[in-house]
Structure formats: structure tokens, C-alpha cells
């Protein structure tokens, strides 16, 4: 395996490869592995570090700076502001996500097919790519041994209310429910790209440069011929060593925020001016129920299933246990009051309401970082109120003594009757507290250069040699966890990538 880090680089060093892939998450690792397997000389460039499974642990103070972009301090500006999380390490967000493997609903793929005007993004055309990906990441239902009490409570609550609950298929091989998905699975069960696609790529001869932040595309004669960046000193965090990679093709897979940030540094995307537009993020609202008995939600798979009864309304509900540090940061209390609430951590069921995007935001360049802007619409707000109310109702039905709601002016509901106040008190979009982990759609794929950023091969319309393979390709939101869709599109882009003679 060839994985280099900051200490291995010389200033001004230039690497050569047939294809350079920027990013090692769901998009980059898959595209790179497919290309390496097809005999291409692939070089990955990753901004974060390489952290093997043996180094993963349940401590946030270690895992936030090691595994997350900006140590988890990223935020989308808008009304309301939405904190978001994405991975920055070998494996990208697949190392720190829940590993859910839902395919997009059929209506979404029909819409994509219609928007693109070609069958390429339809259910039939994408099926072989989904099949291939799901086989490689072991997309399977959970074994009963891995399921925790919070999943059972949610399932039973849904059953009592007559709602459809579906067990998740996850990227896992013999998951035992250690519930450390968000800090990196220490058992080796979750099939992040760190464990499957990256080793596969490296076994076919690919190399990986870690701790290098790509700052520019290398463009010559109107063609993308590589990338230029700097290695980040791990101790000082200064970009202090120039590193370049010369290649015949570049695959940009930095995610839906960083990919447009990189591309917007150049005069590209002119035909449609859509780079950075169409930013989608599946905002979530947290609903934390406190039960009068211990359920130990931190034991068992982080998300056993989803309530999909309201999928047609664009609403999905699920449990997702988070470590106490993250939970404490999200509850609305300080000092002793926070401690008193946290003493009930073992009785907490942490659940959320995901709402499908009804409109889009933007990503632009600002100073030294991307600026993501997104505001929910009145329609989204109304669906959040409906979803939060239903989920809180389920918890009271199951015996919760208190529910912490995601509203800055109404945080606690002590009974089902308190939920009647939601509509009355929540008139403004500014009082709802949201977060997200699904970022999509800023370099949309399409069949028309006037309405899309990349063509159906994944190549920028106006920059030959530059391909995109990540969630920014999505023409619309998928409405479900996007991992397998990203992987399927990355597989398609890799198989269609053509190198110049």
C-alpha cells in the first residue's frame, strides 16, 4: 500500500498519474477503485489523514479533529442556520456516517430521467450500478444481535400508530451494534470506503497522498491536466509544502460544498453558470425523548430502521443515537441544568425528522472557505412542524416522560397536550433548530450544456479532462440517505471516463 503523508513530501514535488482523484469518500474511492481495477494508474489526493480501524475510539475530542471537516464546526448560513458535518479523512464521510444504503425512490429517478432528457439516470439504467455497489459494500439488513432498544421502541411505536417502519439495509459485514458509526466503527464491521474500496484500489496499484489540500486545477491549452495544492502541516495546520499532480484526467470528488468551491476558482461552468447552484441538504430536526427507564440507546446499531409512512410528503423519521458530547451540545441548557438532563442520557432516545428539500441554496467562494447558503421554505417549515409533532406523539405513546423539541422558544414538552402549542408558537422559520449530513447537487449532471455543469460522462462541459464524481452530480435531492446513489454515479463516471490519446 502506498499512502503518503505530510512528512513524506518535498516542496515543489510533482507526482505523475494517469488519473488523479481528489477525495476518498463515497465518490472518489469508488471512482478511483473502478479505474484502478480497469488498469489505470490512479493517484488519490486526500485532505485529511489516514486513520486505520485500530486507531478509532469513542472519544469526540479525538475524533472531531481527526475525522471531521473543520473539527465539526461547519455551518450553512440561512434562515435558520444549519450546522452540518462531513468527513475529512481517508474514507471521507463514509467513515463517520450511519452506512444506510437506500436507493432513491422510483419517483426521484423518473424525475431525473425526465430532467436529463436521456435514460442514463433512470431506474433501469442505474440498476446495474446499484447492484454492483451494494454487492461490494455488503448492503444487508441488520442481524438481530446488533439492534438496540431505541430501534425497537421506534418500531413498536410505529406499529401502534399504524405507520410503516422499514428496517435499514446498511453497508456492513457482521455488524454487532457497537454504535460507534459517528466516530468511526472500531469493530471493522461498517463497510466504509476505508475498508473496502480504498484497499481494493491500492491492491490494484493505486497510490494515495494524504494531508494535501488541492487549491487549483492545473489547466493547459483548455484541458485539465492535473491539480495543484499544498500539504498541511499536522502540527501547525499551515499549508507549507507545494504538491502537484500531473495527469491525463482529473476526478473531483470533494463533496457538494468543496467541489464547487474548487471549480469556482476557475473560469469554468460558463455555459450554464450552474456551479454552486442547486445546493440541497435534507435538513433534519432532532427530537430527543426522555424515558423513565433506561434504554441505553448508545448500545445497538445507530439506526436500525426508518419510519417511511410519510415518504410521499417528503418526511422520513429515524432514531440516531449520538455520543453524550454531541447530545449535550444540542440541548438548550447550560451548567447544572444541562448536567441534570444529561444524567438521563441512558433513558434518552435520540430521533430525528428528515425533510426532503423543496428548493435549493447556493455555494460560493468567500475569503478562504466556501460559503453555503440555504433557507427552508414555508412549506418545509410546515412539514417540519408536522413531522416533529408526529414523532413526539409516538414517544409519548411509548411512555416518554418528556420530549426535547427542536424549537428555541419551546424546548420541552411534558405531555402530549403540550404538542398542541407547536402550531401556535412556531410561526417563524428562525426558531427551528436544524442540522444536516446530506449535502448534494451543486454540479448537476445533465444532457444539456445550458442547464447542467457536467455531461452524462461526468465531464465538465467546458473543461475536457475534468470529471466530477460525488453528491454534487445529483439533479435533485434523493430524499433518502445518499451514499449508494453517490457510489452508483461514481461507478458510472469511472466506467465512462475516457483518457486522451
Amino acid at each position: 500500500m502506498t499512502i503518503l503523508a505530510h512528512r513524506d513530501y518535498r516542496n515543489g514535488q510533482t507526482f505523475d498519474a494517469e488519473v488523479v482523484v481528489v477525495g476518498t469518500g463515497a465518490g472518489g474511492a469508488v471512482a478511483g477503485a473502478e479505474l484502478a481495477e480497469a488498469g489505470r494508474d490512479v493517484l488519490f489526493v486526500e485532505e485529511g489523514g489516514y486513520h486505520p480501524t485500530s486507531s478509532l475510539n469513542p472519544y469526540l475530542t479525538e475524533s472531531l479533529p481527526r475525522l471531521y471537516r473543520d473539527a465539526g464546526g461547519t455551518i450553512i448560513m440561512g434562515r435558520p442556520p444549519i450546522p452540518y458535518a462531513e468527513g475529512r479523512c481517508v474514507g471521507g464521510s463514509t467513515l463517520v456516517n450511519g452506512g444506510m444504503t437506500w436507493r432513491p425512490p422510483e419517483r426521484v429517478l423518473m424525475e431525473w430521467e425526465s430532467l436529463v432528457g436521456q435514460p442514463d439516470l433512470g431506474a433501469k439504467a442505474l440498476e446495474p450500478f446499484f447492484d454492483r455497489v451494494e454487492e461490494r459494500i455488503h448492503a444487508k439488513p441488520q442481524h438481530p444481535v446488533s439492534v438496540g432498544e431505541d430501534s425497537r421502541l421506534l418500531e413498536e411505536g410505529a406499529r401502534r400508530l399504524g405507520w410503516r417502519y422499514e428496517h435499514n439495509r446498511r453497508a456492513q459485514d457482521r455488524c454487532v451494534g457497537s454504535n460507534q458509526c459517528l466516530t468511526g466503527c472500531p469493530t471493522g464491521a461498517k463497510q466504509s470506503t476505508l475498508l473496502n474500496y480504498m484497499p481494493r484500489a491500492l491492491s490494484f496499484g493505486a497510490r494515495c497522498l494524504t494531508e494535501v489540500r488541492i487549491q487549483k486545477l492545473w489547466i493547459e491549452g483548455g484541458r485539465c491536466v492535473g491539480v495543484m495544492g499544498k500539504a498541511v502541516n499536522p502540527r501547525t495546520r499551515q499549508c507549507d509544502i507545494d504538491v502537484r499532480v500531473r495527469s491525463r484526467a482529473v476526478v473531483v470528488s470533494c463533496g457538494a460544498v468543496q467541489t464547487p468551491y474548487l471549480l469556482l476558482g476557475h473560469r469554468v461552468g460558463r455555459p450554464s453558470r450552474q456551479i454552486g447552484k442547486n445546493f440541497l441538504c435534507h435538513p433534519n430536526a432532532k427530537v430527543v425523548a426522555i424515558y423513565p427507564f433506561d434504554i441505553h440507546a448508545w448500545q445497538g446499531v445507530s439506526q436500525g430502521g426508518q419510519i417511511r409512512e410519510f415518504l410521499d410528503e417528503g418526511i422520513v423519521m429515524a432514531e440516531n443515537a449520538i455520543p453524550p458530547g454531541t447530545a449535550a451540545a444540542q440541548i438548550p441548557f447550560l451548567g447544572e441544568e444541562a448536567l441534570e438532563l444529561m444524567k438521563q442520557y441512558n433513558g434518552m432516545a435520540m430521533t430525528g425528522v428528515l425533510v426532503d428539500d423543496s428548493h435549493a441554496g447556493t455555494v460560493t467562494r468567500s475569503f478562504d472557505a466556501p460559503l453555503a447558503k440555504y433557507s427552508i421554505t414555508a412549506y418545509d417549515h410546515e412539514r417540519f412542524l408536522r413531522g416533529v409533532r408526529r414523532l413526539a406523539m409516538l414517544h409519548f405513546e411509548m411512555g416518554a416522560k418528556q420530549v426535547v423539541l427542536p424549537f428555541s422558544n419551546m424546548h420541552i414538552a411534558n405531555s402530549i397536550d403540550d404538542l398542541d402549542q407547536i402550531e401556535r408558537t412556531q410561526r417563524s422559520r428562525s426558531t427551528i433548530e436544524l442540522f444536516t449530513v446530506h449535502l448534494m447537487g451543486t454540479c448537476r449532471m445533465g444532457g444539456n450544456r445550458r442547464s447542467s455543469v457536467v455531461n452524462l460522462q461526468g465531464e465538465l462541459w467546458d473543461l475536457p479532462g475534468c470529471y466530477v464524481a460525488d453528491a454534487s452530480l445529483f439533479p435533485t435531492a434523493v430524499g433518502v440517505n445518499p451514499q449508494v446513489t453517490i457510489m452508483a454515479l461514481a461507478t458510472m463516471v469511472a466506467q465512462r471516463l475516457e483518457l486522451p490519446n
Binding site: 503523508a5 489516514y50 486513520h51 486505520p52 480501524t53 485500530s54 486507531s55 478509532l56 475510539n57 469526540l60 475530542t61 479525538e62 472531531l64 479533529p65 473543520d70 473539527a71 465539526g72 464546526g73 435558520p80 442556520p81 450546522p83 442481524h143 438481530p144 444481535v145 439492534v147 438496540g148 432498544e149 413498536e156 454487532v176 451494534g177 457497537s178 472500531p186 469493530t187 471493522g188 502540527r235 501547525t236 495546520r237 427507564f293 433506561d294 434504554i295 441505553h296 448508545w298 448500545q299 445497538g300 453524550p324 458530547g325 454531541t326 451540545a329 438548550p332 451548567g335 444541562a338 448536567l339 444529561m342 444524567k343 441512558n346 468567500s366 475569503f367 472557505a369 411512555g399 428555541s408
Partner: protein
């Protein structure tokens, strides 16, 4: 092959944690005062406040320079919350912990979004650091390491061919309440 993790707080994978961002003594005092008002007064160790603020300064090193500077400016503004809330003339650094906390609670509950937004950063950084410490874990009866070690062992056996049995399932309630 199943890896054998050590679950250590500071794993040795040759990766270096960044040095804390350098700030002026005044900013350091502001961060200490804010941390003191935000995290619980007990349990703590002698170094809790220093540890929590140092970790915040480490995290700032992983953010873009503009975000880190904005965060620190925000903290200085927050220090003067009594003044801009028209509730006093002295900054939080000159107030007792309880009085400072009352001001911060009011900021957290403000009806103005930009005011509430100023608490996102310190609340997230200080609370997540505090509740990641072993003594805080003990206070809330949270001890993940033995459980994770047992699950790693369970998976090791599974990979070797021993299918988990029903008694390995995770149950804390006799039955899900009906």
C-alpha cells in the same frame, strides 16, 4: 481479518494533533470565563477549564482562518453581553459564574436569531469537550469501552465462524412496553 483496536483516548497511529491556536491573554481569559459559565460546576478536575479551552483552541486550528477569527471576535462580543443587553456595565470576565451564566442563558433564549447564533460555537465546543471526559461520563453513568470491547470480541468469534446466539442480543427492557 478482524482488527484488534485498543480504544485508547490518544491512539498511536503516527498522526499528530495540532497545537492550540495562539491567542492573547485577554482572549484566553474570555474563553475561560465562558467555559466556566457554560459547563457544569461539578464534577471537574483542577485542569478542566484549561483542558476545555485548550481543546477549543485546537479545534480552531482545523477551521479556515476566517472562521476561527470570526469565532474569537464573537467570543469577545459575547463577553460584553451584559452591556449590549443593557443589563450591566461589566463584562462576563468580571462577573461571578452564576451571573455570567444567567446572561448566557438569556442569549441562548433570545428571540433574535443572530444573538442566539453567537452561542452555537462556544456551546458546541465546550459542552462536547466537557461531556467527553471520563469524570463526566461517570456522572451520567456512561461507560462505552467495556461494551465496545465485548462487541469486538463477539464479532471476532463471528468472523471465525461462531454465529451469535440470542443471548448476545442487546436488551435492557424485559419487553418493549406495550
Amino acid at each position: 481479518m478482524v482488527p484488534s483496536p485498543v480504544l485508547r483516548r490518544h491512539p498511536d497511529d503516527s498522526w499528530t494533533l495540532a497545537a492550540p491556536r495562539k491567542v492573547s491573554p485577554r482572549t484566553q481569559r474570555v474563553l475561560l470565563a465562558l467555559a466556566d459559565a457554560i459547563i457544569p460546576a461539578s464534577p471537574r478536575t483542577e485542569t478542566t477549564l484549561e483542558d476545555v479551552t485548550r481543546h477549543a483552541l485546537v479545534c480552531l486550528q482545523y477551521m479556515p482562518q476566517s472562521s476561527a477569527r470570526l469565532f474569537l471576535v464573537g467570543m469577545r462580543l459575547l463577553n460584553w453581553a451584559p452591556l449590549w443587553r443593557l443589563r450591566g456595565l461589566r463584562p462576563l470576565t468580571r462577573l461571578s459564574r452564576d451571573k455570567a451564566r444567567r446572561h448566557l442563558i438569556a442569549v441562548t433564549q433570545s428571540r433574535w436569531l443572530p444573538v442566539r447564533l453567537s452561542m452555537y460555537g462556544p456551546l458546541g465546543l465546550f459542552m462536547s469537550t466537557y461531556f467527553d471526559q471520563d469524570y463526566a461520563h461517570r456522572a451520567i453513568d456512561y461507560d462505552p469501552v467495556p461494551f465496545i470491547e465485548a462487541r469486538i470480541e463477539l464479532r471476532r468469534k463471528w468472523v471465525e465462524g461462531v454465529e451469535p446466539e440470542a443471548e448476545e442480543e442487546i436488551h435492557h427492557l424485559p419487553v418493549v412496553p406495550r
